[in-house]
């Protein structure tokens, strides 16, 4: 009797049964994402040999301080570059401006670790720069001159900044484009210079967007592992890796990971708050792009140099170094090995892209149609996966999967008397699972924006004409937002191709991706051998850039 009342109460909460199912579905997705996070907390607090005190008194402060220094340095430089570029390109007129618009985005195609390896080779003692300097000036050894050491905190900040500035560039530019020129014109009429308008009007209005970009930069910096390891800079991410795999202490590593998680959660809260605060209450009638400011000859050159420099440093130079390597060894390429790497990377990335897009569609659809508390909560949790840096994610994935494998083994063993091996943990499922956890938020965000542009009248018309929710979704809504679906799949695809730390740890026997191959050869100081795989990753990364630029320019006049 009580049970019946209970069930009825639950059912009454939802307007109809479908919503109940949808809620369950959302909850299921959320728990899949939440499991790794919970697993890390579990490992951290149940560690038997608690090296917490040893860590805290020796290396942990170092990791934290290093991470803070790196994040501060990268933040300052990316803000400078990203915001300036966005402003210059939005407001000033100069030759090749159109091309510069998307050229600025190119560093996005370069994973930080590849840039790190190429600069390491380019700038170190036996590299191009120093060798030629010595030749030119007749120096003999390093004692004869001073040259900045790239293998340092400064070097790593430099590299990360020039790889990550596009995030701030994108958000700032989107914000500047939305701003109405009327305010700027008013300020000019009132006698203020354009620089004043920038600092006192445009910048403050764009601040939420800029900070969102900055938060992305910080999160990417925290996630980065291989580049920092290569430069000998021990950030928290490197610390987790060292503690787990170098010192064989999973519990200790999980404890460090918790630090990272808390910090990143904080960032995500801030970002969420800011997204709500962005004011759309501007008069969008006349946009900045209408009349660009013309410049004098001298300033023109200056502006063009400022624009081309970041791309040069963040993309063109590393690409040239890679190209050079490839040409050197063009006859030594082992086609068989390369094809297998390519296939592996493609397989993982495509699976991840398709699965996250499907899950993203499900979540967005559920969110928009049945908006109850549980669903909202589930969606929030599902988006947290991005907060897990790759190394941490690997920990969080491997432990539960092995547990599940153990259970499955018992079931099969006891009831069916079959001996099975590792179904989940030793296989590609683990890697794809990790990618889904980490990238679901990208898919959700992209598809959500797509749905937002959907005219609700069309949906309403379809429902009125008798089509079910599911039918409407498949036949009407999805085809309309196809660009958003493609964007989502493409972004996840590229991020999966680039992904390194989680793949490195979770991969099974005889399995390498383009990214892990690059890492293996780089750790042997033999980047030349991995130049072709590295280049492939970069080329794959170029595709979304074309799309992103189109998105940025959407709705812009002139």
């Amino acid at each position: 009797m009580v049970w019946q009342l209970f069930m009825r109460a639950i059912f009454n909460k939802f307007s109809y049964q479908k919503e109940f199912l949808e809620t369950l579905g959302a909850l299921f997705v959320a728990s899949i994402i939440a499991i790794p996070i919970l697993a890390i907390f579990y490992i951290a607090f149940s560690a038997d040999d608690n090296i917490w005190t040893h860590l805290a008194s020796t290396v942990l402060p170092g990791y934290i301080i290093t991470t803070v220094i790196v994040i501060s340095g990268v933040s300052i430089i990316t803000l400078l570059i990203g915001v300036s570029l966005a402003w210059i390109i939005t407001v000033y007129e100069f030759p090749f401006r159109r091309i510069m618009e998307w050229l600025c985005l190119l560093p996005l195609a370069m994973p930080a670790y590849i840039v790190a390896y190429t600069y390491g080779d380019f700038l170190d003692y036996t590299g191009f720069v120093q060798s030629n300097l010595r030749f030119l000036f007749g120096w003999d050894s390093i004692k004869d001159y001073w040259f900045p050491d790239i293998y340092s905190i400064g070097g790593s900040i430099f590299i990360m900044a020039f790889v990550l500035y596009p995030y701030i560039y994108i958000t700032s530019r989107a914000a500047f484009l939305r701003q109405s020129i009327t305010l700027i014109e008013m300020s000019s009429i009132l006698g203020k210079s354009s620089l004043y308008s920038f600092f006192h009007i445009a910048l403050p209005m764009a601040r939420p967007a800029i900070i969102i970009g900055l938060i992305l930069v910080i999160m990417e910096t925290m996630n980065e592992f291989a580049a920092f390891e290569y430069f000998g800079v021990d950030t928290l991410s490197v610390g987790v890796y060292i503690t787990w795999l170098g010192k064989n202490n999973l519990g200790g590593a999980a404890q460090i990971a918790i630090f990272m998680l808390l910090f990143v959660f904080l960032l995500m809260m801030i970002e969420k708050g800011l997204r709500k605060k962005r004011s759309f209450t501007q008069n969008n009638k006349k946009q900045i792009s209408a009349n660009r400011i013309k410049l004098s000859k001298g300033r023109l050159v200056l502006v063009m140099i400022i624009c081309i420099l970041p791309v040069l440093i963040g993309f063109l130079l590393p690409s040239l170094v890679l190209f050079d390597f490839i040409l050197e060894r063009i006859f030594e390429v082992e086609l068989l090995e390369y094809s297998s790497l390519l296939f592996n990377s493609l397989f993982l990335s495509i699976c991840a892209a398709i699965l996250t897009t499907i899950l993203g569609i499900f979540l967005v659809n559920t969110h928009s149609t049945s908006n109850n508390l549980i669903i909202r909560l589930s969606v929030t949790i599902s988006r947290l996966g991005y907060a897990l840096p790759g190394v941490v994610l690997a920990i969080g994935v491997i432990v539960p999967l092995i547990a599940v494998d153990g259970v499955l083994r018992n079931i099969f063993g006891q009831y069916f008397n079959i001996t099975i091996g590792l179904i989940l943990s030793g296989t590609l499922m683990a890697i794809i699972y990790a990618y889904i956890v980490r990238f679901l938020t990208i898919s959700f965000g992209t598809i959500e924006s797509g749905f937002a542009t959907l005219n609700p009248d069309i949906t309403a018309a379809s429902r009125l004409l008798g089509k079910s929710k599911f039918s409407t979704l498949i036949k009407i809504q999805l085809p309309i937002i196809k660009p958003a679906l493609i964007m989502s799949a493409l972004l996840v695809f590229v991020d999966s191709m680039k992904e390194l730390p989680a793949t490195l740890i979770l991969r099974p026997f005889n399995f390498d991706t383009l990214a892990t191959n690059v890492y293996t050869y780089a750790s042997l100081s033999d980047i030349g051998n991995a130049s072709l795989p590295a280049m492939t990753i970069v080329v794959a990364g170029l595709f979304p850039i074309i799309l992103i630029n189109r998105e940025l320019n959407r709705g812009r006049k002139g």
Partner: protein, 347 residues
């Protein structure tokens, strides 16, 4: 629409089957195989493993990782597909035993090939080759031809020493041997003084240290013997030959207690699915063919009596090996690791 659903279901099934394919599904196959988890670089062991397959027809599957294999085996537990574990240092071997992922085995072939001091007393693992951790020194700038590890802390070497990360396995073993010989306090002081003598923060691998000597950043470095041989014969990266040409090897403590040695070895996994094949592989690795390949291709010191070193290695000088037993060194690693953290060696 119904057709679509069928396609979808079909692809889903294929997908699940594909991605959950685990090696052990094939354990019922007629194809004989053996699964190797290896800390050793693929290019070092592949020739030897290929020979094994040629000789026995058993397929070898290798998973190489720079770190984390023992941990992986612990997590995998009974389901671990690993049959044997190939390591580069004694610490990993005893660490694996202590983590409970190995089992003991008996083999007359192994016992007669490898001297007992290089075998686990409990029969879990076998040493295959040895390497000495020596001093590389600039021919032009270092006049000494004798040196001791203890001397590295001497102020005369200030700003002249390059070393890789203190937490690296090879260094930990060396530091552990110093703890064993001198006690914790003296060893800590030694490490602190060595840190003060470093020309730059620890970075890169053993070869990068030789590069540092070549560039003039430092005058001496610590490294394993086989790296020098590899650099001198490196056709793919000829600039490494240049680095090596300017450096000489000094065998530390040659007059005294002997030069620190480390082993590479192989261990039998506890839940090995292909137990017989695993033991056969281990036996193969201790026999003449494999031992000679280790000596000639990898420039290591083979452990099987009667197998000589390559000429290149012989040119390094007479080896007087420190006879400190390896288990002691392995047991001292954890303390060595804490010492490295305490002294802030890697900062």
């Amino acid at each position: 629409m119904r057709f679509m659903k069928k396609i979808l279901l079909f692809s889903l099934t294929i997908f699940i089957l594909n991605t959950t394919y685990a090696e052990s599904w094939s354990s019922g196959n007629t194809l004989e195989e053996v699964n190797v988890y290896s800390y050793r670089q693929p290019y070092l062991i592949e020739p030897i493993l290929k020979r094994f397959t040629e000789k026995t027809g058993i397929k070898v599957n290798v998973l190489f990782a720079g770190k984390g294999l023992v941990d992986k085996m612990v997590q995998e537990g009974e389901n671990s597909p690993a049959d044997v574990l190939l390591t580069v240092d004694i610490g990993r071997l005893s660490g694996a035993v202590n983590s409970g992922v190995s089992q003991s085995f008996k083999s007359g072939i192994v016992d007669s090939n490898i001297p007992p001091q290089y075998r686990d007393p409990n029969g879990h693992w076998v040493g295959l080759t040895a390497r000495a951790r020596v001093i590389f020194a600039s021919i032009d700038r270092v006049i000494e031809n004798e040196i001791t590890y203890e001397e590295l802390a001497d102020p005369k070497w200030k700003g002249r020493v390059c070393v890789r990360s203190g937490q690296n396995d090879y260094n930990l073993a060396l530091f552990s041997s110093l703890i064993a010989h001198h006690g914790e306090i003296e060893a800590t002081n030694w490490l602190r003084d060595l840190k003060a003598n470093l020309a730059r923060t620890p970075q890169g691998n053993d070869r990068d240290q030789v590069k540092g000597i070549y560039s003039g950043e430092c005058d001496i470095s610590i490294g394993n013997t086989y790296y020098m041989a590899e650099m001198r014969t490196n056709e793919k990266e000829p600039q490494q030959k240049e680095w090596a040409a300017n450096t000489k090897i000094i065998m530390p403590n040659a007059e005294g207690r002997g030069t620190h040695m480390n082993l590479s070895g192989v261990l039998l996994a506890r839940y090995a699915p292909n137990l017989e094949n695993g033991i056969r592989l281990i036996e193969f690795l201790t026999e003449d063919v494999a031992q000679e390949m280790y000596a000639d291709i990898n420039y290591e010191y083979p452990l099987k009596a009667g197998v000589g070193v390559s000429d290149m290695v012989a040119s390094f000088g007479e080896l007087n090996a420190d006879t400190l037993d390896l288990i002691t060194i392995a047991n001292g690693r954890e303390m060595a690791s804490k010492m490295v953290d305490l002294v802030g060696f890697d900062e």
